[in-house]
Amino acid sequence: MGQVFVLAAAAAQVPASHGTAPLDYVSMLFVFTLATFIGIGVIRRVSRLLHTPLMSLTNAISAIAVVGAIIVAGGSEEYPLYVRVMGAVALFASMTNIISGFLITDRMLKMFRTREGRPGGTAGSGGAL
């Protein structure tokens, strides 16, 4: 009798991130399609001037894999050591991406200036390398 109950309890309230309901990947598919539409709509409007900074910005955004890395590296399940190390390396790699990606994008953007001086409100420092 015990196991049945345990099974039921496990099935009933297992944290969603583990026991995904069968239909769940359809909503994931929905989210993916809509996000792609937004992506295409938004990227098409990025001015040609900014294509290089855009590339480094999206590169930083793709480092969202850091979320997965944290789940593996910091997971409360008793991961075997080599799994946790993999997570840590992944975390290190994506964190580097994030930091360098955002910094270099900002550095490049600071250089773009209209005739009357600094674009946008921020009174940034000189644009020298």
Binding site: A65, I71, S76, L109
Partner: protein
């Protein structure tokens, strides 16, 4: 529950961040939104109840600060290599997380490996490791690292080998999806990983150094899709949306670049463009008319409107600051100065814009190719500065030329043309350039920085 809402907030911020990139004035707010989104994403994940080993999280983050900052201080000309390298990091991260999750679930919670999730892991690992090795080679090619051949590395049965490996990976993938928790599954998984690593190498090697920027854009898309696959595996909406945004951006950028180079998407990927061309038909020896910087300065002074066509040469010579001095000198004399930016001038999309912006040249004077071409006939002096293919009239009529059909800047329509380059060898596509032999074209041989410096000096002292 709160974690999910935080993910939603991060998604909205990512969308806004890309939205604000549509205009240089609001671009920096876009970066701010991106950072905020990332911070929320990381914080929300860290605060999840099932995250306990905080030390394992803090150490790698701290360790990443130094390389992160160092990588961002890289000189501008090295931006392409840096982006390729960080794509390699991104791919590695995705691949590792996929492998880790598979290893853990296989050992401890086999019932988690449903067909759908196994498929997602397979995709994540394939895309991740492929991006990893592919990006490393792309970075090496851009850095012109010695042991990696610039020219596309083509061998006879190459297509067959590629297809064979691809087929094997597909079969392995299907087998894993159907029997994810068999005793032999980890071995199949291992082989799949090796195959994926191999793919990166096989796909990028045969592509010439020239097309690396497009390759980087495509790898950017693959890294995004790997993040999407990871999102499917971990049922995490933020991963899916951010990955989709990144994937679509990589895709669109590579399509734009292919269109600007007037070459089809697949041709870039698979056609081994840029093989060492048989030297152009020698025919009668064309005559170069060399000119001296001071004469050029004299002619420039009489000009009413000047158009500068920057190219890869200006980037290599780091001549943008000298060009700024030329810009100021001419502007002081009331001469209108415009920069004709070809979409694929240099080696990165928008490469010229960034360089000229770095020299603090107002971006209103950077004019797109389609806008400047109609005005070229009225331009008095056209200064071709380290550009070659992008001003080569052959693209208009010579069907045999590899750049046939590529839209170019009509430098040959200007009244007088000065071409600055160091030697007589061809440009990136390895073909001769008719422009140099027109009677209105005068050559200024030498390093871009040096030549422009000379001209500015002569303008300076001979000032009216």
């Amino acid at each position: 529950m709160l974690v999910e809402l935080a993910y939603l907030a991060a998604t909205v911020l990512f969308i806004l961040s890309l939205h604000w990139m549509s205009d240089p004035r609001t671009a920096r707010r876009g970066v701010g939104a991106g950072v905020a989104a990332m911070v929320i994403g990381v914080a929300a994940t860290w605060a999840r109840p099932d995250i306990a080993k905080h030390l394992w999280v803090v150490l790698p983050i701290l360790a990443a600060i130094v390389p992160g900052v160092w990588l961002s201080m890289v000189p501008l000309t090295a931006v392409p290599q840096r982006t390729a390298l960080s794509h390699a990091f991104g791919g590695l991260a995705a691949g590792l997380v996929g492998t880790a999750k598979f290893a853990y679930w296989y050992g401890h919670e086999p019932e988690m490996l449903t067909a759908f999730r196994m498929g997602a892991i397979g995709l994540e690992v394939l895309l991740g490791y492929l991006t990893f090795t592919g990006s490393l080679i792309a970075a090496a090619k851009l850095q012109e690292v010695k042991w990696v051949p610039q020219r596309p590395w083509v061998y006879s049965g190459q297509q067959a080998v590629n297809l064979g490996a691809f087929g094997a990976a597909l079969v392995l993938g299907v087998m894993l999806v159907v029997w994810p928790t068999e005793p032999w599954s980890p071995w199949a998984f291992g082989v799949l990983v090796l195959l994926a690593l191999n793919f990166g190498w096989m796909l990028v090697m045969p592509i010439g150094g020239a097309d690396m920027p497009t390759v980087i854009a495509i790898l950017n898309a693959y890294a995004g899709l790997a993040a999407v696959a990871m999102g499917f595996v971990l049922d995490n909406k933020l991963l899916i949306t951010a990955g989709a945004l990144d994937g679509s951006s990589g895709l669109i950028l590579s399509i734009i670049m292919c269109r600007a180079m007037n070459r089809s998407f697949f041709n870039v990927l698979f056609g081994a463009f840029g093989q060492a061309q048989a030297k152009g038909a020698a025919g009668e020896q064309k005559v170069y008319k060399p000119e001296t910087p001071d004469n050029a300065a004299a002619i420039l002074e009489q000009a009413g409107s000047v158009v500068v066509v920057p190219g890869y040469g200006m980037a290599v010579a780091q001549a943008q600051h000298k060009v700024r001095e030329l810009y100021d000198a001419l502007k002081k004399r009331g001469i209108s100065v415009k920069f004709a930016i070809h979409p694929v001038a240099g080696r990165m999309p928008g490469h010229m814009n960034v360089l000229l912006a770095e020299a603090e040249i107002p971006y209103e004077d950077l004019v797109e190719m389609d806008e400047i071409n109609p005005e070229m006939p009225r331009c008095d002096v056209c200064l071709v500065l380290g550009a070659n293919d992008v001003v080569n009239p052959a693209a208009r009529f010579d069907t045999s030329s590899p750049i046939y059909g590529m839209p170019i800047i009509d430098a040959d329509k200007a009244r007088t043309v000065f071409a600055v380059k160091r030697s007589k060898n061809p440009g990136f596509a390895g073909i001769d350039n008719e422009l140099y032999f027109l009677d209105k074209t005068w050559m200024l041989f030498g390093d871009a920085k040096g030549v422009v410096g000379e001209v500015v000096k002569h303008l300076g002292d001979g000032g009216r």
